[in-house]
């Protein structure tokens, strides 16, 4: 059958709580509550099992992982296990003392997200007043503490005009690396697709800007660039293949092959509270369903790229076609490809609708750009 080589990396979604409300947040529409989160001991046990299995890297993510008061302890536990630790954060809850504590615990890298190159756009898109200025300050503190820094820039039609300024911001803040990622359309991003999707011309211009900057800044700044699938000819190798390299552990302990996998109905997910991680990796229905090439329909089944891109993204196949077991429509060879092209063209040509900000309960999310901090869902411990 589909024998599973051990995973390389574990994404620990410590919590879904976050003070920001990005309309492209990769968290599910149904956010998990604080009361259901794994406790410190459970996470430490999971990291131990992961290290035994052969996992090399742990990415602390969320939500906003720094909401967890035990983050330093979790970082230190991973360090003791020889795991590489990376913090993916919006930064707004960090201060100098906390950054020193995390550095002292052995944290090896910080990925700090920015919503735009400047305050007005950044605070509007993140739905959090004062967020941008705070991020700039936190970036400086991270570097001052001697920690390595990547800036994560999620780009879309409402901030692409500032792309050159975003790159300058990364240079100015002495980042080692910048990740420029076009929004991926599932979860909140799918809900807000019409407000986010760029035109083909905008995408081409962005790609040219990134390529020129990459050449110019060789040895100064490393670039990672993720293009939007809707304009691709071949899909990306999503997660490096389903159940091949990555595990994603949700705040409650459910284990997913990718953070969006729960958008696919009918998959059964197991929890670290019920079964050992290794068993879940090797036998869980969610992992076995699309692992390898056995599940593939044509044209993937007989395609010479089937072990390069693994048929693309299952969540995207489901989002567009209603069937997760079809070829990713991002692929030109898929009979659904025309649909994705038309969606992209029609939506990007129209004026963008208002954002549906991320919040607890998708239906209850506020649609107007409310900038006050007080109405922030999920910010406090419940």
């Amino acid at each position: 059958m589909n024998a599973a080589a051990p995973p390389l990396a574990l994404l620990a979604e410590l919590t879904h709580r976050c003070p920001l409300r990005c309309p492209y947040c990769s968290n599910p529409l149904e956010l998990e509550r604080a009361s259901g989160e794994l406790d410190t001991d459970a996470w430490v046990r999971v990291f131990g099992e992961a290290a035994d299995m052969g996992v090399l890297q742990v990415h602390f993510s969320g939500g906003e992982p720094t909401v967890r008061k035990d983050l330093e302890r979790l970082v230190a536990a991973c360090g003791a296990l020889g795991l590489y630790t990376n913090l993916i954060t919006s930064g707004v809850l960090l201060d100098e003392g906390r950054i020193a504590a995390l550095a002292g615990a052995g944290l090896e890298h910080v990925q700090l997200s920015f919503q735009d190159s400047e305050e007005a756009g950044g605070d509007r898109i993140g739905g959090y007043k004062g967020g941008h200025a705070k991020k700039v300050e936190v970036a400086r503190l991270v570097r001052k503490a001697g920690l390595a820094l990547t800036l994560n820039m999620v780009v879309h039609r409402q901030n692409l005009h500032n792309l050159p300024a975003m790159i300058e911001l990364a240079v100015g803040l002495d980042a080692h690396r910048v990740e420029i990622a076009h929004v991926q359309y599932y979860g909140w991003g799918l809900k807000n697709r019409a407000a986010l999707i760029p035109t083909r011309a905008q995408l081409d211009e962005a790609t040219a800007v990134v390529e020129a900057a990459r050449q110019r800044l060789k040895g100064v700044l490393v670039f990672d660039y993720v293009v939007p699938d809707y304009y691709a000819r071949r899909p990306k190798s999503c997660m490096g293949g389903w159940g091949r390299n990555f595990l994603n552990v949700m705040p409650s302990g459910r284990v997913l092959p990718c953070h969006a996998a729960e958008t696919i109905p009918g998959l059964r997910f197991d929890s670290v509270s019920d079964r050992p991680l290794q068993q879940i990796w090797e036998t869980s229905d969610a992992f076995q369903r699309f692992r390898g090439t056995g599940w593939m329909p044509e044209p993937c089944r007989s395609c010479d790229r089937r072990e390069i891109d693994w048929g693309g993204c299952r969540c995207q196949a489901f989002a567009i076609t209603g069937d997760a077991a079809r070829t990713d429509p991002a692929c030109e060879l898929s009979s659904d490809h025309q649909r994705i092209v038309e969606l992209a063209q029609t939506e990007s040509d129209r004026a963008p609708p208002a954002f549906v900000y991320r919040g607890l309960g998708a239906g209850a999310a506020r649609t107007e750009p409310a900038l006050s901090e007080d109405a922030v869902p999920g910010a406090g411990r419940s």
């Binding site: 090399l56 390595a148 990547t150 990740e179 060789k218």
Partner: protein, 98 residues
């Protein structure tokens, strides 16, 4: 042109703080761990990378390898410079002048 990576005999290559060369016991191979990325250096690359300790100059690394591998110094010099340049552009190493 790019002034970021200029390498000569006196350059001192070292690892960026977030790039970790570690032995992967499960898979029995050396790995450079980086955020969202792994590099798997081959044997020759490993010989060079393990000497990038922030003290040794390119010249000293080449001397050590020339002694060990019995190959002409200028050939090794070319290889070492190329590799250091490449890993510097990938953000794994950086160099400072002595």
């Amino acid at each position: 042109m790019n002034a970021g990576v200029a390498i000569d005999e006196g350059s001192v290559p070292r690892f960026q703080p977030h790039m970790k060369l570690r032995f992967d016991k499960k898979r029995e191979r050396w790995t450079i761990l980086a955020p969202e990325r792994l590099f798997l250096p081959d044997e020759i690359a490993l010989e060079i990378l393990r000497r990038c300790d922030g003290v040794a100059t390119i010249g000293a690394i080449v001397d050590a390898l020339a002694g060990k591998f019995d190959a002409p110094r200028d050939v090794i010099m070319d290889d070492v410079k190329k590799l250091v340049q490449d890993f510097a552009e990938k953000g794994v190493l950086y160099t400072k002048e002595r």
